[in-house]
C-alpha cells in the first residue's frame, strides 16, 4: 500500500512540470489535441467494494498520428486487499486503446465530434475478477464516443460493448457526462470545471447491472490540471458481496 502512494505522489508531482488537457473524468470525449503529439496522463482509482479495496494506478501514454486518430497504451499497477482473501500488488491488465474520429462539425466556440473507439485488454494482470482493472483475461471493447462541447458546457456520450472470449465479463456499457465550467472561458486557461457523469454497466452473462454516478471537479491553470471525482452506485444489482461502495478518482494530465 505504501508503494502505491509513493507512485501516486510521484505521478502527481511529475504532472506539475507539464501541459494539460481537460476531458471528462470517468467518461471519455472525442476531442483530440493536434496531430503528432504525445500525451501522458494518469487516473488513479481507489475502489472500495464489499469484497475489498483496490488501488489502480495506470500510466497512460497517448500518441496522435493525426488530428483524427489516437493510439495509446495503458500500463497499470494495482494494489489489492481482498477481505478474508489475498492481498498484494502487481501489474494489472495492460490496455491498448485506439480511436478514430469520423465526424466533426465545428462552429464558433463549439464543436460536435464522433469517434469510434476500441480498447484491447491484455491478460497481464492477476485473475482478480475486478472489472476494468485486473481480470487476467483478454477482452476487447468496441464503442462510439460522441461529444458536444461549447464554451458554456460539454456533453459526452459513450456506448459500447466489451467482449470476452469466455463471456464472463461481456458487458454493455453506456456513459453520459456533463461538464460545466465555473469560470469565464479564457486563454491561457484558468478553469474550474464541474463534471456530472453517469455510467450504466450491464454484465450480460452474469445479469449484473450497475448505475454509477460520479461527481467530479477539475482545476486547470495554464499547463497544470488536477482531476478529482467520487463515484457512488445508484443501482447496485450485482451478487451479494460484490457491491461497489464507492470509487475515488485522482488524475493528472499533460501533453508534450
Amino acid at each position: 500500500m505504501k508503494n502505491t502512494y509513493v507512485i501516486l505522489v510521484a505521478i502527481l508531482l511529475l504532472s506539475l512540470i507539464a501541459q494539460a488537457q481537460g476531458p471528462p473524468i470517468t467518461a471519455d470525449k472525442p476531442i483530440m489535441l493536434g496531430g503528432g503529439s504525445f500525451t501522458t496522463k494518469t487516473l488513479t482509482e481507489i475502489r472500495k467494494t464489499e469484497r475489498g479495496t483496490f488501488v489502480y494506478v495506470p500510466l497512460m501514454l497517448h500518441y496522435l498520428p493525426s488530428s483524427n486518430s489516437l493510439v495509446a497504451v495503458h500500463l497499470p499497477y494495482i494494489n489489492y486487499d481482498i477481505e478474508n482473501g489475498a492481498s498484494g500488488s502487481s501489474l494489472a491488465d495492460i490496455k491498448i486503446l485506439g480511436k478514430y474520429q469520423f465526424f466533426r462539425k465545428d462552429a464558433t466556440g463549439k464543436t460536435f465530434r464522433i469517434v469510434a473507439k476500441t480498447l484491447q485488454n491484455l491478460p497481464t494482470g492477476e485473475e482478480l475478477d475486478v472489472m476494468e482493472l485486473s481480470t487476467g483475461k483478454y477482452s476487447g471493447y468496441y464503442g462510439i464516443v460522441a461529444g458536444y462541447e461549447t464554451l458554456k458546457y460539454g456533453i459526452s456520450n459513450e456506448v459500447g460493448y466489451n467482449w470476452m472470449p469466455d463471456g464472463t465479463l461481456d458487458e454493455f456499457r453506456y456513459k453520459l457526462g456533463f461538464g460545466l465550467p465555473l469560470l469565464k472561458p479564457q486563454y491561457p486557461n484558468k478553469q474550474i470545471n464541474l463534471y456530472f457523469e453517469y455510467t450504466n454497466s450491464w454484465l450480460v452473462e452474469r445479469d449484473w447491472y450497475q448505475l454509477l454516478y460520479a461527481q467530479g471537479i477539475q482545476y486547470a491553470r495554464k499547463n497544470i490540471t488536477f482531476d478529482l471525482a467520487v463515484q457512488v452506485p445508484l443501482v447496485n444489482d450485482v451478487d451479494a458481496g460484490r457491491e461497489l461502495r464507492h470509487s475515488i478518482f485522482l488524475g493528472t494530465r499533460f501533453t508534450f
Partner: protein
C-alpha cells in the same frame, strides 16, 4: 567618455536592426471554428509552435480569432496556415495575411485591391452585444458570395460591409445575418434562433 559614445552607438544600431527585424514580420489572422474549450486553443497553439520563428500568438476563444506573426522572409502561405489549423483538428473559416510589404491577402489566396469596379461599401445597424456576436455576424456576412470586407463595432452596433453588387445585395447580407440570430433594421432573427444564442449574446431586440 569615448567608451560611452561607442556603447551608445552600438546599442543604437542594435535597436535599429531590431526594429527592422520586427518590421519584417507578416501578420496572420485566422478565424477558427471548433474551439469549444481553452484546451482546444492550447492544441491549436501547440500545433503552430511547429512553425519555427512564430511570435505573438494570440487566441480569443470566444470569437475564435487566432493571430500570430511570422518572419516575412519565410513567405508562409495562406494554404499552409489553413492546413495547419486542419492538422490541429479545427476548421479555418476566414484567413487574412498582412504582409510586411503592405500587401493584404484574404482567404482562398485572393489578393485584395483597394476596391474593384462594382464593389461598394455600406453601413447598417446590426444588433449584438459582445465579441462572440461580432464573430457570428462577421461569419454570417462573409458566408455570402461577393462580400469582401466586413467589420462590426459592438459599441455603436454599426456594421460596415464591402460587397460586389454584381454578386450579392445588402438584403441578402442582412438575411444571412438575421438567419445567424442577429436583428437588422429590415430583417429580424427568428425567435428560436435568438433564444439559442449564448446568454451573453442576448441583445436588446430591434423593434420596428
Amino acid at each position: 567618455m569615448k567608451r560611452t559614445i561607442i556603447v551608445t552607438l552600438v546599442i543604437g544600431m542594435m535597436t535599429m536592426f531590431s526594429a527592422n527585424a520586427q518590421k519584417a514580420m507578416d501578420k496572420f489572422m485566422v478565424q477558427v471554428d471548433g474551439l469549444g474549450c481553452p484546451f482546444c486553443a492550447y492544441g491549436l497553439e501547440k500545433k503552430f509552435k511547429e512553425f519555427k520563428g512564430i511570435k505573438n500568438v494570440k487566441i480569443d476563444i470566444e470569437t475564435g480569432d487566432f493571430s500570430f506573426k511570422y518572419p516575412a522572409e519565410k513567405a508562409l502561405t495562406m494554404q499552409a496556415v489553413e492546413k495547419q489549423v486542419e492538422k490541429a483538428g479545427y476548421t479555418p473559416v476566414t484567413s487574412k495575411i498582412e504582409r510586411a510589404n503592405g500587401k493584404v491577402e484574404e482567404s482562398k489566396g485572393a489578393m485584395l485591391s483597394d476596391s474593384s469596379e462594382g464593389t461598394i461599401t455600406k453601413k447598417m445597424m446590426v444588433a449584438g452585444n459582445c465579441g462572440m456576436c461580432e464573430a457570428r455576424i462577421s461569419k454570417a456576412a462573409k458566408s455570402v458570395n461577393g462580400v469582401s470586407e466586413i467589420s462590426w463595432n459592438k459599441d455603436t452596433k454599426m456594421m460596415e460591409v464591402s460587397f460586389d453588387t454584381g454578386a450579392t445585395s445588402l438584403t441578402e447580407i442582412e438575411m444571412a445575418i438575421a438567419k445567424a440570430g442577429h436583428d437588422t433594421k429590415n430583417h429580424k432573427a427568428q425567435k428560436v434562433t435568438y433564444d439559442e444564442l449564448p446568454a451573453c449574446c442576448h441583445y436588446q431586440r430591434i423593434t420596428k
